[in-house]
């Protein structure tokens, strides 16, 4: 049976993870996407601001996340995917920031992933095309980063997942890394062949795809079994809003302006068996706190609809 998941961000607290996991179980979720990126925010990184969270040793990190692991198990929730802090490289940052991201944050994220028995970790490819001239040149840099992670991934049985991203041109969100399915397929296959293991996979982000007009069904059909995890969320086609599916319309007919039918057909066509995971943490900060159980329940119900339709 296909699992239904959601981000831990805005639900699971470090002080009392039991309550959050219980709430998710009651809402109808079977899985979570562990928001490790919440411990080192991209907004801080872009300001050259590093906190000390990843200064902890691997043992200290394991101790820090032991209550989370225990609470998830007690609630019957699987930690089936995780988001590594991003970006992993900032072209305009000081050298020591990038070295820290590369040598401390990334390897320790892998260790946390392994400790939490999570099979997939999602990373962001480097956004360097403006400087390097092409997406292909940009990918070479991302591939170096993946080569840095791959031996550990293989040893730990983790699949690192690249995600379709966007870039920004004058406030207009356009294609970023990993938006070309043909390239993604060739790269994943080549990478895995080189390592003799499934160390690289794909995370399809519906919201990012919608922003750049990607044909969901064709993209998913192109990915096939390389699709390992999902970031399901909705937007108006203009801003990366991470909202609940089916909530955006643009015409008086009030039909959804995101191609959810194509999404379902694509997943059905490739026989997707993975978790239907929602990346909708901003929804929880938009609704009143007192409505959180109902909002989570509604998101889980949409997940169940997708599962039934697929």
């Amino acid at each position: 049976m296909t699992g239904i998941g959601v981000q831990t961000k805005n639900v699971i607290s470090d002080e009392n993870p039991q309550d959050g996991f219980r709430l998710l179980k009651q809402a109808g979720f079977s899985d979570v996407d562990f928001s490790l990126n919440g411990y080192l925010l991209n907004t801080d990184l872009y300001r050259n601001s590093l906190n000390q969270f990843f200064d902890r040793s691997a043992a200290e990190l394991e101790a820090y996340f032991t209550p989370h692991k225990r609470a998830a198990k007690e609630a019957g929730i699987s930690i089936s995917q995780m988001h590594m802090p991003y970006p992993a490289y900032i072209p305009t940052a000081k050298k020591e920031v990038n070295e820290y991201l590369w040598n401390e944050v990334a390897p320790k994220s892998m260790q946390v992933c392994h400790f939490l028995e999570c099979p997939y970790i999602v990373i962001h490819g480097f956004k360097l095309a403006r400087y390097l001239g092409s997406e292909d040149a940009e990918w070479e840099r991302t591939e170096r980063f993946l080569d840095h992670l791959a031996p550990t991934a293989k040893e730990m049985g983790i699949t690192v997942c690249i995600e379709n991203l966007y870039d920004n041109v004058g406030g207009h969100l356009v294609e970023g890394p990993c938006c070309n399915v043909h390239k993604a397929v060739a790269r994943i296959d080549g990478f895995n062949e080189r390592y003799g293991a499934e160390v690289l996979g794909f995370c399809f982000d519906t919201g990012h795809a919608n922003l750049v007009g990607i044909d969901f069904e064709r993209f998913l059909n192109g990915l096939g079994p390389r699709l390992k995890v999902l970031h399901i969320h909705d937007n108006d086609g203009i801003s990366d809003l991470h909202q609940i599916p089916f909530t955006f319309t643009k015409t008086r007919e009030n039909r959804p302006s995101t191609d959810w039918e194509g999404f379902i057909r694509g997943l059905r066509s490739i026989g997707y068996q993975g978790t239907l995971s929602f990346e909708t943490a901003p929804v929880l900060s938009a609704f009143p706190e007192s409505m959180k159980p109902e909002v989570l329940g509604f998101i889980a119900r949409i997940g169940q609809y997708f599962a039934d339709a697929i």
């Binding site: 095309a129 400087y131 390097l132 207009h172 643009k250 302006s257």
Partner: protein, 445 residues
């Protein structure tokens, strides 16, 4: 490269004289023969319905053979005045069309357009597929684009195209998902390239080749507005299609609402909302030298007729600018030797991107403190050093004060070609910039 103007909102086919004159006076002597001017999408949407009323504006939609007559005033007066029509566009349905019964009518219209193009010496005809709104290039679940009905539609045009020596251009399209425009027919560059190649192969098998080249029958028209609406990487788009691209429709929009605005007018906080950088990088990389169609119909429609001549002149200047940017490397290759004027960021960018292929002898600068120093592997000299150059050595101005420096060089009485270089759309960029005062790079301690 041919700079070509659209006619919509510029030339009225029913009374074309003033529009033709305005266009020619702007310096643009090429126009897109847009058959939608006499057979627009909104009329096609209604044709054949019970409440459809015939008027003089509906004649071509009802009877495709009327197309030639309706365009005759424009073509005859245009040609007499010196206007040429290197490329045309067949009538098409709107992206949100509800009509799925117009295939035969669109086919008849396209065939008629081909014949008119043949008679007019027009080499290319852009033909959108029927029901462009409903699907991508290939059928659902199919790996073979030729299984798609569109292939049959286009192949039906091939023989008439050959008889009239007209190349049919496929164009990237959107489709409508509840009012949100996403990638449709031929919007994925690799699949579009496969489709063009396969159509050419099949057409050549059936009807033979005109000249022995592979691309006689079909080519591609890259619509920049569609790429922008779909947030596409235009460098990848252009380079994947390569020399299949015979025409580029250049238009601006905000990336979410479909519009044909003058380039560089859709901006937010001082930044363009169209990715001109990747577009120019891509077209420069493939050495594009085809039809550059300036589509600013919505800007023209909103513009007062009193200001229209100035608008047309600006559009023509933009076309020339794009052609210059796209042809930058060709321009560098024209000269056997060269020096630079300027020892700042633009010089640095020149050396990073073109220094190896087109090495300058030296650079010069008005800043005395830089003379006889090295910068990016070049010796910086006084402008007086330019007097010793052979007369065919080009001086590339690498400084945004182009006109000021050009006047300085002209005042010196130098016989050398004076050429503008520009680094707004370089193949690559440095992450940091040189500070003009400290001569240090950003972040350099």
């Amino acid at each position: 490269m041919q700079i070509i103007s659209i006619i919509r909102s510029i030339i009225d086919p029913n009374r074309p004289r003033q529009g033709i004159t305005d266009l020619l006076r702007s310096g643009c002597d090429n126009a897109l023969l847009d058959f939608a001017a006499v057979c627009p999408p909104d009329i096609l949407e209604k044709v054949g319905k019970s409440d459809f009323k015939s008027t003089r504006y509906t004649a071509a939609a009802e009877d495709p053979k009327q197309l030639g007559g309706l365009m005759r005033g424009l073509t005859e007066q245009g040609r007499a005045a010196g206007l040429t029509f290197p490329i045309a566009k067949a009538p098409y349905t709107a992206v949100d069309t509800k009509r799925n019964d117009l295939t035969d009518r669109l086919l008849a219209l396209a065939l008629e357009c081909i014949k008119i193009c043949g008679a007019q010496g027009c080499s290319y005809l852009i033909v959108r597929p029927p029901m462009a709104a409903v699907g991508p290039t290939a059928k659902e679940g199919s790996d073979d684009p030729l299984e798609d009905a569109y292939s049959g539609f286009y192949l039906t045009l091939a023989r008439t195209a050959r008889e009239n020596r007209v190349t049919i251009l496929l164009e990237n399209q959107c489709r409508d998902i509840g009012g949100h425009l996403v990638r449709g027919f031929c919007a994925e560059e690799r699949e579009a390239a496969v489709l063009v190649d396969e159509l050419n192969r099949l057409a050549a098998e059936r009807y033979g080749s005109w000249t022995g080249q592979q691309d006689d029958y079909f080519g591609f028209c890259m619509n920049v507005g569609i790429c922008n609406l779909c947030g596409q990487n235009m460098y990848d788009f252009a380079t994947a299609l390569g020399d299949r691209i015979k025409a580029v429709i250049l238009r601006d929009c905000d990336g979410s609402s479909d519009a044909s605005q003058l380039s560089f007018t859709c901006v937010k906080k001082g930044q363009p909302q169209t990715d001109w950088l990747n577009l120019i990088r891509g077209l420069r990389r493939i050495r594009f030298d085809g039809c550059l169609i300036m589509d600013y119909a919505d800007t023209a429609a909103a513009c007062s007729p009193i200001l229209k001549p100035q608008l047309l002149a600006l559009a023509k200047a933009q076309g020339d600018y794009f052609a210059w940017q796209i042809g930058m490397e060709r321009m560098l290759a024209q000269y056997s030797s060269r020096v630079l004027f300027g020892a700042g960021n633009m010089c640095r960018n020149y050396m990073k991107n073109y220094g190896e292929a087109y090495p300058p002898l030296f650079t010069c600068d008005n800043n005395k403190s830089l003379w006889d120093t090295d910068f990016c592997g070049l010796t910086v000299r006084s402008p007086e050093a330019l007097r010793s150059l052979p007369s065919d050595c080009a001086i590339f101005i690498c400084n945004i004060y182009y006109r000021e420096i050009e006047a300085q060089l002209k005042d010196m009485g130098l016989p050398n070609p004076i050429v503008y270089f520009n680094d707004e759309y370089m193949p690559t960029f440095y992450v940091d910039r040189l500070d003009a005062v400290t001569r240090k790079y950003d972040g350099q301690v």
